[in-house]
Subunit: 214 residues, 2 copies
DNA sequence: AGCTAAATCCCCCTTTTTGGGGGATATAAT
DNA sequence: ATTATATCCCCCAAAAAGGGGGATTTAGCT
């Protein structure tokens, strides 16, 4: 078939999902929209990667728990090969570690599997127009990851100092940045270590990040 | 009026927006939904904060460009006073710096002002059920902030080393973590500095973060 | 087979940084 | 009046960082 240049082109989609029923269900659902075309479906990342340059999908629906290569690793590999592909994770997991790993690996969205059919179609539309569809719970986790602990034991100045320390700066560099004497910074850091009950930079940074103080 | 305990309670909402027309428009729009109640509207953060404990809103719609206190600072102050309030930013700005500042300050969502009325009502519903509604562009920015540069000049080992260095660890601590000799780490770091054209830890970390290598 | 990139380890050296100890002072908030 | 916060000062020893010069091994590619 030949389309004129003004005709809206179909969006090529592949699916990576090991459960046959779920996979076929997704394929059927997506194919019901005329603008979408499911060019292939796979049971594993390995298979999807084999045909990646042949399929050249614009969107990939992907499960994370897969036989063989884990989905997160699959995302990493696929994005390396086709940097512009939009990978939409469809997973049962709302475990924060996994969610962030998937996003860091290059996912463009994350939908929980309990989402209805319409949510999945909405997500495809959303990702096509440059968005990053996420289920409520996921979006909230992502946004919260930006937010600091409101009950920090540290003063604002101490927090400021710790932030600069976490950027790898030396006491003297921090002093320069804050227009105070190096000894002042030393003093702040002593207090920070006391409050966090640590006695080294690395421990302080680790604890501060874990407690979202910085 | 008295509601029985089983009746769905109204959601109390306040609005902080300096433009009279926009503010009244929002108020009218939101009041059209029976489950929502606009308890007050304000032209500035200062005014909103004055009545915060009296209003006790569950959701605040907030503009960022405001006379007096800036919206970001307002978010910070309000969240300190009422940590459980959900602040929904409604702003024309899609400037990444401002978006992240607002989210870091404690916003639960970020909708661009060109969004239609239904999008705003949807966002309120979404935030009520624990989500973090964001306009497409914003969500994409947020998700991209998790993703690293795919064309890093560093090898994976070097990246690994730099990540640990950025956590404030010493050469020997890194060597311990990676089960190699301290001199190996030194060697990697020399190479990293060469590739990034820097000659100190702080510069390397700064450059690596700016280029999203870590 | 030859080349290259990557990762590993070794020595030299000096300067800087860190962490722990002991303080003091001024200001602002409660 | 007391406390918290921020500022600055000294001493000291150990650790770390940075720069210079190497070497070896492995894996991948041509």
């Amino acid at each position: 078939m030949t389309n004129s240049s003004t005709t809206t082109r179909e969006t090529k989609i592949t699916i990576v999902e090991d459960n046959d029923v779920v996979r076929d269900g997704f394929a059927l659902l997506i194919s019901s929209v005329s603008q979408h075309r499911v060019v292939n479906t796979y049971e594993s990342c390995e298979d999807a990667i084999k045909n990646l340059f042949h399929d050249r999908p614009e969107i990939i629906l992907m499960d994370l728990e897969l036989p063989g290569m884990h989905g997160v690793e699959g995302i990493r590999k696929i994005k390396k090969m086709l940097p512009d592909v939009n990978i939409l994770v469809i997973s049962v997991h709302t475990n924060s570690e996994l969610v962030f790993q998937a996003l860091c690996a290059g996912a463009s969205g994350y939908i929980t599997k309990n989402a209805g059919h319409s949510k999945i179609l909405d997500a495809i539309t959303e990702v096509k127009k440059g968005g990053a569809p996420m289920s409520s719970q996921i979006a909230r986790m992502v946004v919260q990851s930006f937010q600091k602990n409101t009950n920090s034991p540290l003063t604002s100045r101490e927090t400021e100092v710790l932030e600069l320390l976490a950027k790898g700066k030396s006491y003297s560099a921090i002093a320069n940045d804050l227009f105070v004497h190096k000894e002042t910074i030393k003093s702040h850091i002593k207090n920070i270590y006391g409050k966090l009950q640590v006695n080294s930079k690395a421990d302080a940074i680790e604890k501060a990040i874990k407690q979202r103080l910085i």
